[in-house]
Amino acid sequence: MMKKTEIFVNSAFRENSVWRQILGICSALAVTNLMMNSLIMGLGVIFSLALSGFTISLIRYWTPRSVRMMVQTLIIAAYVIIVDIFLKANLPEISKQLGPYVGLIITNCILMGRAEAFASQNNPIDSFVDGIGAGVGYSLVLLVIGFVRELFGFGSIFGIKVMGDWWTNWSIMVMAPSAFFILAMLIWIINVKYYKVKV
């Protein structure tokens, strides 16, 4: 049986959903133009991943195989809607900024991936830790991409201006295609440096 820290490190870094499994790419491209959006999106995904993993694991012995994916989607959707309602009621400004992307966490492949690959075969506590790990790994990637895009695209970090008046914003960084290049470079660097993949 794996230790909790090992589960966390595994799902957050060694088997990171984005750079290792190439999952959750759509949202990594869409919301990373600002770091605050990336952070809130990351927190929403951590919450949904951890609790949906816990719940799916809790009821795994009673879940019929034929409808398991429908049940998993239902559980994931319920937690995502809870995040959405919470943001609307308590952090309305951030909810407004994120717009439809909070709801789109439901379609994030990482959630279904972890539900199918881990939560449906492991105990609830391990699934909870795995969910937090996968969410942290995902958020990390979002924040790194967001950092580069916001810095060069807006000259700011978390909305705070860091570049002087001399700086000309790079329009391409605000647009989704820039995230493709940054993500590709990130995956390349990690593959070469960490996994020692020969190019």
Partner: protein
């Protein structure tokens, strides 16, 4: 004797799915009901705050009260100075800024089509509806970071105190500042980079809605 249990019966998945749906939908319904009042109150306050913000300069000039004082207690100022009215023939929400029983400006709830869906905005107009005092886009489904930037202050500031009609009555047309140049008059707008369709949609919404308001206004005057 059969080894089959209830879990193996064809009805089990149906009942399991039904039970799961009931439980989760129930939890969501309770959560939504408990937050609904908070969400609605926030929406209402934000909406009223936007109307007051658009009309604050005009109210401040007419009443002598400073803009900061007006915005310090928005609910009180809204109750004191803003009245929702009906303009016959106009199917829009209309708010009038009333100071000492005299109407000094209007705010219209307008709408149009964006890139991904409808957008709704508040447009404040002078009493004769010939000057655009300001706009706020309060509902839109544009791409975050691109088209959604129509809600940013720098973009909206371009529509503040803009004369809409020439002295002979012909309307001024809004246009975009050509690449690499500067605005030559107040009707040239800096569009959002990478969101041309959304920028065009905002101008179209303004043109269509202001024309409609003025047509109704003229009919009323006759």
């Amino acid at each position: 004797m059969s080894d089959k249990t209830f879990k193996d019966s064809p009805m089990y998945p149906v009942l399991f799915m039904l039970a799961t749906c009931v439980i989760f939908v129930g939890v969501l319904a309770v959560m939504f009901r408990s937050s609904e009042a908070k969400i609605e109150a926030y929406k209402q306050n934000a909406y009223q705050g936007m109307i007051l913000g658009l009309l604050a300069n005009s109210i401040s000039e007419a009443s002598g009260e400073s803009k900061d004082d007006l915005l310090r207690e928005p609910q009180v100022s809204y109750t004191n100075y803003i009245k929702e009215i009906k303009l016959p023939g106009l199917d829009r929400k209309v708010f009038a800024a009333v100071v000492n029983d005299s109407t000094i400006a209007y705010c219209f709830d307008i709408g149009g089509k964006g890139l991904w869906g409808t957008m709704r905005a508040l447009a404040a107009l002078s009493l004769d509806c010939k000057t655009l005092l300001g706009i706020v886009i309060y509902e839109q489904m544009e791409t975050p970071g691109l088209g959604a930037r129509i809600g940013e202050e720098w973009f909206l500031a371009q529509f503040r105190n803009v004369t809409l009609y020439q002295p002979d009555g012909t309307a001024f047309e809004f246009s975009f500042i050509p690449e690499g140049q500067k605005a030559v008059d107040m009707h040239q707008i800096q569009q959002i980079t990478g969101a041309t369709i959304t920028s065009v949609s905002v101008l179209k919404m303004l043109r269509d809605e202001i024309n409609l308001i003025n047509t109704v206004n003229q009919q009323q005057a006759q």
